[in-house]
Symmetry: C2
Subunit: 205 residues, 2 copies
Amino acid sequence: MAPKYKLTYFNAKALAEPIRFLFAYGGLEFEDVRISTKDWPNHKSSFPYGKVPTLEVDGQIIDQSKAIGRYLAKKVGLMGKDDWEDLLIDSVVDTFNDFRLECAEYAYEPDPKIKAKKQEKLWKETIPFYMNKLDELAKENGGYLVCGKLTWADVYVAGMHETYILYSGQNFLEGRAHLKSVVDKVYAIPAIKAIIDKRPSNEEF
Amino acid sequence: MAPKYKLTYFNAKALAEPIRFLFAYGGLEFEDVRISTKDWPNHKSSFPYGKVPTLEVDGQIIDQSKAIGRYLAKKVGLMGKDDWEDLLIDSVVDTFNDFRLECAEYAYEPDPKIKAKKQEKLWKETIPFYMNKLDELAKENGGYLVCGKLTWADVYVAGMHETYILYSGQNFLEGRAHLKSVVDKVYAIPAIKAIIDKRPSNEEF
Protein backbone atom coordinates (compact mmCIF):
# COMPACT_ATOMS: atom_id res chain seq x y z
CA MET A 1 0.00 0.00 0.00
CA ALA A 2 1.25 3.48 -0.82
CA PRO A 3 2.32 5.47 2.24
CA LYS A 4 -0.05 8.12 3.53
CA TYR A 5 1.61 11.53 3.33
CA LYS A 6 0.42 14.65 5.14
CA LEU A 7 2.27 17.92 4.62
CA THR A 8 1.54 20.72 7.09
CA TYR A 9 2.58 24.32 6.55
CA PHE A 10 1.21 27.82 6.52
CA ASN A 11 -1.20 28.83 3.77
CA ALA A 12 1.84 29.81 1.77
CA LYS A 13 4.46 28.73 -0.74
CA ALA A 14 7.90 29.34 0.85
CA LEU A 15 9.44 26.24 2.45
CA ALA A 16 6.58 23.92 1.52
CA GLU A 17 6.33 24.69 -2.18
CA PRO A 18 9.35 22.63 -3.35
CA ILE A 19 7.92 19.70 -1.37
CA ARG A 20 4.52 20.13 -3.04
CA PHE A 21 6.27 20.23 -6.42
CA LEU A 22 8.05 16.94 -5.66
CA PHE A 23 4.79 15.23 -4.72
CA ALA A 24 3.23 16.50 -7.92
CA TYR A 25 6.21 15.54 -10.08
CA GLY A 26 6.18 12.00 -8.73
CA GLY A 27 2.42 11.65 -8.90
CA LEU A 28 2.31 10.97 -5.15
CA GLU A 29 -0.93 11.67 -3.30
CA PHE A 30 -0.60 13.92 -0.26
CA GLU A 31 -2.79 15.85 2.10
CA ASP A 32 -1.91 19.56 1.87
CA VAL A 33 -2.75 21.00 5.30
CA ARG A 34 -2.49 24.79 5.46
CA ILE A 35 -2.65 26.71 8.75
CA SER A 36 -3.33 30.43 8.61
CA THR A 37 -0.79 32.61 10.42
CA LYS A 38 -3.72 33.91 12.50
CA ASP A 39 -4.45 30.39 13.78
CA TRP A 40 -0.79 29.38 14.15
CA PRO A 41 -0.41 30.31 17.85
CA ASN A 42 -3.12 27.74 18.66
CA HIS A 43 -1.24 25.04 16.76
CA LYS A 44 2.45 25.79 17.33
CA SER A 45 2.88 23.71 20.48
CA SER A 46 1.39 20.61 18.86
CA PHE A 47 4.40 20.35 16.50
CA PRO A 48 7.57 18.58 17.69
CA TYR A 49 9.82 21.63 17.26
CA GLY A 50 7.06 24.25 17.12
CA LYS A 51 7.82 24.69 13.43
CA VAL A 52 6.43 23.84 10.03
CA PRO A 53 6.65 22.38 7.45
CA THR A 54 6.33 18.90 8.82
CA LEU A 55 5.71 15.73 6.89
CA GLU A 56 3.63 12.98 8.41
CA VAL A 57 4.28 9.58 6.86
CA ASP A 58 1.94 6.85 8.05
CA GLY A 59 1.55 8.70 11.36
CA GLN A 60 5.22 9.57 12.00
CA ILE A 61 5.94 13.30 12.02
CA ILE A 62 9.19 14.56 10.50
CA ASP A 63 10.67 18.05 10.66
CA GLN A 64 13.02 19.99 8.42
CA SER A 65 12.06 21.03 4.91
CA LYS A 66 15.34 20.20 3.18
CA ALA A 67 15.55 16.75 4.73
CA ILE A 68 11.96 16.10 3.66
CA GLY A 69 12.69 17.40 0.18
CA ARG A 70 15.76 15.20 -0.22
CA TYR A 71 13.78 12.17 0.92
CA LEU A 72 11.05 12.79 -1.62
CA ALA A 73 13.58 13.66 -4.33
CA LYS A 74 14.99 10.15 -3.91
CA LYS A 75 11.48 8.69 -4.18
CA VAL A 76 10.70 10.54 -7.41
CA GLY A 77 14.11 10.12 -9.08
CA LEU A 78 15.46 13.66 -8.74
CA MET A 79 18.66 12.95 -6.84
CA GLY A 80 21.96 12.15 -8.57
CA LYS A 81 23.19 8.95 -10.17
CA ASP A 82 25.85 8.56 -7.45
CA ASP A 83 27.15 10.08 -4.17
CA TRP A 84 29.15 12.69 -6.06
CA GLU A 85 26.11 14.01 -7.94
CA ASP A 86 24.12 13.97 -4.70
CA LEU A 87 26.84 16.14 -3.15
CA LEU A 88 26.66 18.66 -5.99
CA ILE A 89 22.85 18.80 -5.72
CA ASP A 90 22.89 19.16 -1.91
CA SER A 91 25.48 21.92 -2.17
CA VAL A 92 23.33 24.00 -4.54
CA VAL A 93 20.27 23.53 -2.31
CA ASP A 94 22.19 24.71 0.76
CA THR A 95 23.62 27.65 -1.17
CA PHE A 96 20.13 28.85 -2.10
CA ASN A 97 19.17 28.28 1.51
CA ASP A 98 21.98 30.62 2.63
CA PHE A 99 20.51 33.22 0.29
CA ARG A 100 17.04 32.60 1.72
CA LEU A 101 18.31 33.24 5.25
CA GLU A 102 19.82 36.55 4.14
CA CYS A 103 16.49 37.57 2.58
CA ALA A 104 14.66 36.62 5.77
CA GLU A 105 17.08 38.63 7.89
CA TYR A 106 16.16 41.67 5.82
CA ALA A 107 12.45 40.93 5.57
CA TYR A 108 11.95 40.44 9.33
CA GLU A 109 14.07 43.42 10.45
CA PRO A 110 11.75 45.58 12.58
CA ASP A 111 13.89 48.75 12.76
CA PRO A 112 13.31 50.85 9.59
CA LYS A 113 16.79 52.42 9.67
CA ILE A 114 18.58 49.10 10.00
CA LYS A 115 16.22 47.64 7.43
CA ALA A 116 17.18 50.29 4.88
CA LYS A 117 20.85 49.41 5.37
CA LYS A 118 20.11 45.71 5.07
CA GLN A 119 18.14 46.37 1.89
CA GLU A 120 21.08 48.15 0.34
CA LYS A 121 23.38 45.22 1.11
CA LEU A 122 20.79 42.69 -0.06
CA TRP A 123 20.09 44.44 -3.34
CA LYS A 124 23.60 45.62 -4.18
CA GLU A 125 25.67 42.70 -2.91
CA THR A 126 23.78 39.60 -1.82
CA ILE A 127 21.32 39.22 -4.69
CA PRO A 128 23.83 39.91 -7.47
CA PHE A 129 26.40 37.65 -5.83
CA TYR A 130 24.20 34.60 -5.36
CA MET A 131 22.02 35.01 -8.40
CA ASN A 132 24.91 35.61 -10.79
CA LYS A 133 26.49 32.40 -9.47
CA LEU A 134 23.28 30.45 -10.01
CA ASP A 135 22.86 31.98 -13.47
CA GLU A 136 26.42 30.89 -14.28
CA LEU A 137 25.71 27.37 -12.98
CA ALA A 138 22.61 27.19 -15.18
CA LYS A 139 24.68 28.27 -18.18
CA GLU A 140 27.42 25.70 -17.49
CA ASN A 141 24.97 22.87 -16.86
CA GLY A 142 22.89 23.12 -20.01
CA GLY A 143 19.92 24.94 -18.53
CA TYR A 144 19.88 23.09 -15.21
CA LEU A 145 21.63 24.12 -12.01
CA VAL A 146 23.76 21.03 -11.72
CA CYS A 147 24.53 17.65 -13.32
CA GLY A 148 23.18 18.70 -16.73
CA LYS A 149 19.72 17.36 -15.94
CA LEU A 150 16.63 18.12 -13.89
CA THR A 151 17.29 17.53 -10.18
CA TRP A 152 16.00 18.42 -6.75
CA ALA A 153 18.19 21.54 -6.88
CA ASP A 154 16.14 22.96 -9.78
CA VAL A 155 12.85 22.08 -8.10
CA TYR A 156 14.05 23.61 -4.82
CA VAL A 157 15.10 26.92 -6.34
CA ALA A 158 12.03 27.13 -8.59
CA GLY A 159 9.70 26.24 -5.72
CA MET A 160 11.20 28.87 -3.44
CA HIS A 161 11.81 31.72 -5.87
CA GLU A 162 8.40 33.43 -5.76
CA THR A 163 8.45 33.85 -1.98
CA TYR A 164 12.01 35.16 -1.97
CA ILE A 165 11.31 37.62 -4.74
CA LEU A 166 8.49 38.84 -2.51
CA TYR A 167 10.69 38.90 0.62
CA SER A 168 13.68 40.52 -1.07
CA GLY A 169 11.57 43.03 -3.00
CA GLN A 170 13.51 42.36 -6.18
CA ASN A 171 12.80 40.14 -9.17
CA PHE A 172 16.17 38.46 -9.22
CA LEU A 173 15.36 36.38 -12.32
CA GLU A 174 15.27 39.51 -14.45
CA GLY A 175 18.34 39.83 -16.63
CA ARG A 176 19.43 36.31 -15.72
CA ALA A 177 18.15 34.29 -18.65
CA HIS A 178 19.84 31.01 -17.74
CA LEU A 179 18.49 31.00 -14.21
CA LYS A 180 15.07 32.09 -15.45
CA SER A 181 15.03 29.20 -17.93
CA VAL A 182 15.55 26.76 -15.04
CA VAL A 183 12.51 28.11 -13.24
CA ASP A 184 10.47 28.22 -16.46
CA LYS A 185 11.33 24.60 -17.20
CA VAL A 186 10.21 23.43 -13.76
CA TYR A 187 7.00 25.47 -13.99
CA ALA A 188 6.25 23.97 -17.42
CA ILE A 189 6.28 20.36 -16.16
CA PRO A 190 2.60 19.43 -16.58
CA ALA A 191 2.12 17.92 -13.10
CA ILE A 192 3.79 20.92 -11.47
CA LYS A 193 1.89 23.37 -13.64
CA ALA A 194 -1.31 21.65 -12.54
CA ILE A 195 -0.71 22.27 -8.83
CA ILE A 196 0.47 25.82 -9.46
CA ASP A 197 -2.83 26.42 -11.28
CA LYS A 198 -4.71 25.05 -8.27
CA ARG A 199 -2.96 27.18 -5.62
CA PRO A 200 -5.43 28.68 -3.13
CA SER A 201 -6.16 32.27 -4.14
CA ASN A 202 -5.78 33.43 -0.53
CA GLU A 203 -2.19 32.27 0.03
CA GLU A 204 -0.44 34.50 2.56
CA PHE A 205 3.08 34.38 1.15
CA MET B 1 43.77 5.41 -6.46
CA ALA B 2 42.20 6.99 -3.37
CA PRO B 3 40.80 10.48 -4.02
CA LYS B 4 42.87 13.42 -2.83
CA TYR B 5 40.87 15.40 -0.25
CA LYS B 6 41.68 18.92 0.89
CA LEU B 7 39.54 20.54 3.57
CA THR B 8 39.89 24.30 3.99
CA TYR B 9 38.54 26.21 6.97
CA PHE B 10 39.58 28.66 9.64
CA ASN B 11 41.98 27.53 12.35
CA ALA B 12 38.95 26.41 14.30
CA LYS B 13 36.58 23.60 15.08
CA ALA B 14 33.02 24.83 14.31
CA LEU B 15 31.72 23.80 10.87
CA ALA B 16 34.82 21.84 9.92
CA GLU B 17 35.15 19.63 12.97
CA PRO B 18 32.41 17.11 12.12
CA ILE B 19 34.02 16.76 8.68
CA ARG B 20 37.45 16.13 10.26
CA PHE B 21 35.84 13.54 12.54
CA LEU B 22 34.35 11.73 9.52
CA PHE B 23 37.70 11.60 7.75
CA ALA B 24 39.30 10.24 10.93
CA TYR B 25 36.51 7.72 11.54
CA GLY B 26 36.83 6.35 8.02
CA GLY B 27 40.61 6.35 8.03
CA LEU B 28 40.60 8.69 5.01
CA GLU B 29 43.68 10.83 4.44
CA PHE B 30 43.01 14.55 4.03
CA GLU B 31 44.89 17.80 3.95
CA ASP B 32 43.66 20.02 6.79
CA VAL B 33 44.22 23.59 5.59
CA ARG B 34 43.57 26.22 8.29
CA ILE B 35 43.41 29.94 7.50
CA SER B 36 43.75 32.39 10.38
CA THR B 37 40.93 34.93 10.65
CA LYS B 38 43.62 37.62 10.36
CA ASP B 39 44.62 36.29 6.92
CA TRP B 40 41.07 35.53 5.77
CA PRO B 41 40.44 38.84 3.95
CA ASN B 42 43.35 37.99 1.62
CA HIS B 43 41.83 34.61 0.81
CA LYS B 44 38.06 35.18 0.82
CA SER B 45 37.71 36.07 -2.86
CA SER B 46 39.54 32.93 -3.98
CA PHE B 47 36.68 30.73 -2.71
CA PRO B 48 33.66 30.12 -4.96
CA TYR B 49 31.16 31.62 -2.50
CA GLY B 50 33.65 33.52 -0.35
CA LYS B 51 32.98 31.03 2.42
CA VAL B 52 34.62 28.09 4.13
CA PRO B 53 34.65 25.19 4.78
CA THR B 54 35.24 23.91 1.28
CA LEU B 55 36.25 20.42 0.28
CA GLU B 56 38.52 19.91 -2.68
CA VAL B 57 38.25 16.44 -4.18
CA ASP B 58 40.81 15.72 -6.90
CA GLY B 59 40.88 19.43 -7.74
CA GLN B 60 37.12 20.13 -7.68
CA ILE B 61 36.03 22.57 -4.97
CA ILE B 62 32.75 21.98 -3.16
CA ASP B 63 30.92 24.29 -0.76
CA GLN B 64 28.48 23.67 2.10
CA SER B 65 29.50 21.88 5.26
CA LYS B 66 26.40 19.72 5.68
CA ALA B 67 26.44 18.55 2.06
CA ILE B 68 30.14 17.68 2.46
CA GLY B 69 29.45 15.90 5.73
CA ARG B 70 26.61 13.86 4.26
CA TYR B 71 28.81 12.84 1.31
CA LEU B 72 31.58 11.65 3.61
CA ALA B 73 29.10 9.98 5.97
CA LYS B 74 28.02 7.81 3.01
CA LYS B 75 31.66 6.97 2.27
CA VAL B 76 32.39 5.90 5.85
CA GLY B 77 29.13 4.05 6.54
CA LEU B 78 27.43 6.55 8.84
CA MET B 79 24.22 7.17 6.92
CA GLY B 80 21.09 5.06 7.37
CA LYS B 81 20.23 1.62 6.04
CA ASP B 82 17.51 3.11 3.79
CA ASP B 83 15.95 6.41 2.65
CA TRP B 84 13.78 6.57 5.76
CA GLU B 85 16.74 6.35 8.14
CA ASP B 86 18.59 8.91 6.00
CA LEU B 87 15.62 11.25 6.44
CA LEU B 88 15.68 10.86 10.23
CA ILE B 89 19.44 11.51 10.31
CA ASP B 90 19.21 14.55 8.00
CA SER B 91 16.37 15.95 10.10
CA VAL B 92 18.42 15.80 13.33
CA VAL B 93 21.40 17.42 11.62
CA ASP B 94 19.25 20.29 10.33
CA THR B 95 17.62 20.69 13.75
CA PHE B 96 21.01 21.13 15.40
CA ASN B 97 21.87 23.52 12.60
CA ASP B 98 18.81 25.64 13.46
CA PHE B 99 20.12 25.79 17.01
CA ARG B 100 23.58 26.75 15.74
CA LEU B 101 22.08 29.67 13.78
CA GLU B 102 20.32 30.92 16.91
CA CYS B 103 23.61 30.76 18.86
CA ALA B 104 25.38 32.66 16.09
CA GLU B 105 22.70 35.34 16.05
CA TYR B 106 23.41 35.94 19.73
CA ALA B 107 27.20 35.61 19.51
CA TYR B 108 27.57 38.11 16.64
CA GLU B 109 25.14 40.73 17.99
CA PRO B 110 27.15 43.96 18.25
CA ASP B 111 24.72 46.00 20.40
CA PRO B 112 25.24 45.09 24.11
CA LYS B 113 21.64 45.90 25.09
CA ILE B 114 20.14 43.75 22.33
CA LYS B 115 22.74 41.09 23.07
CA ALA B 116 21.64 40.88 26.71
CA LYS B 117 18.05 40.31 25.58
CA LYS B 118 19.15 37.69 23.07
CA GLN B 119 21.18 35.96 25.78
CA GLU B 120 18.15 35.71 28.00
CA LYS B 121 16.11 34.13 25.24
CA LEU B 122 18.96 31.81 24.25
CA TRP B 123 19.64 30.61 27.79
CA LYS B 124 16.07 30.45 29.07
CA GLU B 125 14.23 29.26 25.96
CA THR B 126 16.36 28.18 23.02
CA ILE B 127 18.98 26.03 24.76
CA PRO B 128 16.52 24.19 27.04
CA PHE B 129 14.12 23.65 24.15
CA TYR B 130 16.57 22.18 21.67
CA MET B 131 18.83 20.41 24.13
CA ASN B 132 15.99 18.76 26.04
CA LYS B 133 14.69 17.46 22.72
CA LEU B 134 18.09 16.06 21.79
CA ASP B 135 18.50 14.56 25.26
CA GLU B 136 15.11 12.91 24.85
CA LEU B 137 16.09 11.57 21.41
CA ALA B 138 19.29 10.12 22.88
CA LYS B 139 17.27 8.44 25.61
CA GLU B 140 14.76 6.99 23.13
CA ASN B 141 17.43 5.78 20.72
CA GLY B 142 19.62 3.83 23.11
CA GLY B 143 22.32 6.43 23.58
CA TYR B 144 22.40 7.66 19.99
CA LEU B 145 20.42 10.53 18.51
CA VAL B 146 18.57 8.45 15.95
CA CYS B 147 18.21 4.94 14.49
CA GLY B 148 19.61 3.25 17.63
CA LYS B 149 23.15 3.30 16.25
CA LEU B 150 26.06 5.62 15.56
CA THR B 151 25.29 7.89 12.61
CA TRP B 152 26.35 11.14 11.00
CA ALA B 153 23.87 12.92 13.31
CA ASP B 154 25.90 11.93 16.40
CA VAL B 155 29.18 12.89 14.75
CA TYR B 156 27.71 16.22 13.63
CA VAL B 157 26.41 17.21 17.05
CA ALA B 158 29.54 15.99 18.84
CA GLY B 159 31.82 17.74 16.37
CA MET B 160 29.95 21.02 16.71
CA HIS B 161 29.19 21.08 20.41
CA GLU B 162 32.43 22.63 21.75
CA THR B 163 32.16 25.69 19.51
CA TYR B 164 28.51 26.23 20.32
CA ILE B 165 29.09 25.89 24.05
CA LEU B 166 31.68 28.63 23.55
CA TYR B 167 29.35 30.77 21.41
CA SER B 168 26.30 30.32 23.62
CA GLY B 169 28.25 30.76 26.87
CA GLN B 170 26.50 27.78 28.41
CA ASN B 171 27.55 24.16 28.81
CA PHE B 172 24.35 22.68 27.46
CA LEU B 173 25.49 19.08 28.05
CA GLU B 174 25.39 19.60 31.80
CA GLY B 175 22.40 17.89 33.40
CA ARG B 176 21.61 16.13 30.10
CA ALA B 177 23.20 12.74 30.65
CA HIS B 178 21.79 11.07 27.53
CA LEU B 179 22.98 13.80 25.21
CA LYS B 180 26.34 13.95 26.99
CA SER B 181 26.77 10.20 26.54
CA VAL B 182 26.34 10.63 22.76
CA VAL B 183 29.16 13.15 22.68
CA ASP B 184 31.32 11.05 25.01
CA LYS B 185 30.86 8.00 22.81
CA VAL B 186 31.93 9.88 19.68
CA TYR B 187 34.93 11.38 21.47
CA ALA B 188 35.98 7.92 22.70
CA ILE B 189 36.24 6.44 19.19
CA PRO B 190 40.01 5.88 18.95
CA ALA B 191 40.49 7.47 15.51
CA ILE B 192 38.45 10.51 16.55
CA LYS B 193 40.22 10.74 19.91
CA ALA B 194 43.51 10.71 18.03
CA ILE B 195 42.69 13.80 15.95
CA ILE B 196 41.20 15.59 18.95
CA ASP B 197 44.50 14.98 20.77
CA LYS B 198 46.39 16.46 17.82
CA ARG B 199 44.31 19.66 17.52
CA PRO B 200 46.51 22.75 17.06
CA SER B 201 46.94 24.45 20.42
CA ASN B 202 46.29 27.86 18.84
CA GLU B 203 42.80 27.15 17.44
CA GLU B 204 40.75 30.34 17.34
CA PHE B 205 37.31 28.88 18.05
